[in-house]
């Protein structure tokens, strides 16, 4: 949720105050938004001044998916019944929505922190799996079970098969829109560790 949403809610609160004092909804919107630099808001004012009904004039703003849209829809719809009463009640509604917007912004910040953590975990996962992949020939030589077959040759890069799905799921969980970042980071970490670590094991 962006700060323009908070700004718009504050402006709508001003609209409601004016309307509660008996000014019409259309006049209140024009007075509040006429200095606005936002294209949609300027368009709305222009349409109202041209005589287009408020309900149709605000169409550009109500297409946005935010809390200010809810308040705007409420004001426009209820103003037809009783503008003064609707505005009085909507003032509390605006405070509540502002609180929700603030909560949502907090959540967005937490989400970003979690995304960063998931990217770090993906990188570490790539590195650790690369080390185990590189150590696979050594680990395979351990006789942990009776009658184990001789260790087949195992290419060090096979571990990537396990890293990519895990990094993808981490990405899907924490940042569904940018899951590829987790995959890229884990693959890079895997490649780097494999590049530097595998020759040491081969030498050993």
């Amino acid at each position: 949720m962006s700060s323009p949403d908070i700004g718009r809610l504050a402006k709508l609160r001003q609209v409601l105050r004016l309307a509660a004092h008996g000014k019409g909804i259309a006049a209140s919107i024009v007075e509040t938004f006429r200095e606005s630099r936002v294209g949609e808001e300027r368009e709305m004012v222009k349409l109202i001044l041209l005589g287009i009904p408020v309900e149709r004039s605000v169409a550009g703003l109500v297409s946005r998916d935010d809390r200010s849209r809810d308040v705007l829809m409420y004001v426009v719809n209820q103003a037809k019944a009783n503008a003064v009463e609707a505005s009085k009640r909507a003032d509390k509604l605006t405070s509540l929505f502002e609180h929700w917007v603030w909560m949502k912004r907090q959540r967005v910040v937490e989400q970003r922190i979690m995304e960063t953590r998931s990217i770090l975990v993906s990188g570490i996962l790539g590195g650790v799996t690369a080390m185990i992949s590189a150590l696979a020939p050594v680990l395979a030589s351990f006789q942990l079970t009776l009658g184990a077959p001789p260790p087949p040759s195992s290419p060090a890069y096979l571990g990537i098969l396990f890293v990519i799905p895990a990094a993808s799921f981490l990405g899907f969980f924490f940042s569904p829109g940018r899951a590829y970042v987790n995959v890229i980071v884990s693959v890079l970490a895997f490649s780097m560790v494999s590049y530097f670590f595998t020759p040491l094991i081969v030498g050993f």
Partner: protein, 234 residues
């Protein structure tokens, strides 16, 4: 497992049960078959656990849908309460108020449509509301509609307590599930790599089988862990 959400969505219990059994058996069998040559008898146990988990995930899908709907309804309830109050005060009529209020949440919108139809058919608002049979998912919305149809002068307001409660509960549950998912995603590939290396399962067939097992387990973990995230994003 609560199956009341199946009824709320009008799903046939027998068909839904059959679907759950079919999906869980398919996933369980696939995991058992894919990992039997690597894990032996243990693959059957693993298959059974995965089958149980996937059965639960499928059976809980309707409940998640109902919960998302309830959250959206709870989010709309303050505006709905304010609107109903204004309409009730302006028109002085319970029936007119019911005819005027609306919602953008599809399920609530359909219910309000049904309510309006019953009112237009001549039912008393209270009776029309009773005929809905308590199908409103949100407690707040249910209270608001109940207040409108009774209209005994009580103040119609909603401060969003239900939504805040749901959000707080979801955040707590998410805090529990977040480390679980992180641990599974981090350690599962490492464990599988170790299993492949120590157990000499590095041939292509075994590696593909283990990757398949990893995908199934991660998908299951994601399905069970992401409920709260989906709910909070609603």
């Amino acid at each position: 497992m609560k199956t009341s959400s199946w009824d709320a969505l009008g799903l046939d219990r027998r068909r839904m049960s059959a679907l759950v059994v079919l999906v869980s058996c398919s996933v369980g069998s696939a995991v058992t078959l894919a990992t039997y040559h690597i894990l032996g008898q243990l693959a059957v146990v693993l298959g059974a656990i995965v089958a149980l988990g996937s059965g639960y995930a499928v059976a809980a899908l309707p409940r998640r849908s109902v919960e998302r709907s309830a959250i959206r309804q709870a989010g709309e309830s303050p505006a709905l309460a304010a609107a109903a109050s204004v309409y009730l005060q302006s028109s002085g009529s319970k029936s007119k108020t019911l005819l005027m209020i609306g919602s953008e949440e599809p399920r609530l919108s359909a219910l309000l449509g049904e309510l309006r139809r019953n009112v237009l058919l001549g039912f008393d608002p209270a009776e029309a509301y009773v005929r809905l049979g308590g199908r409103v998912e949100s407690e707040s919305v249910s209270k608001i509609l109940g207040s409108v149809v009774r209209a005994r002068g009580e103040r119609l307001a909603d401060e969003g307590e239900e939504l805040e409660g749901i959000v707080t509960g979801s955040l707590s549950r998410e805090e529990t599930k977040f480390p679980v998912f992180l641990t599974i995603s981090f350690f599962l590939p490492i464990m599988l790599m170790l299993l492949a290396a120590i157990g000499h399962h590095t041939d292509p067939v075994s590696m593909v089988s283990l990757t398949f097992l990893e995908l199934v387990v991660l998908d299951l973990a994601l399905a069970l862990s992401s409920t709260e995230r989906a709910r909070l994003a609603a």
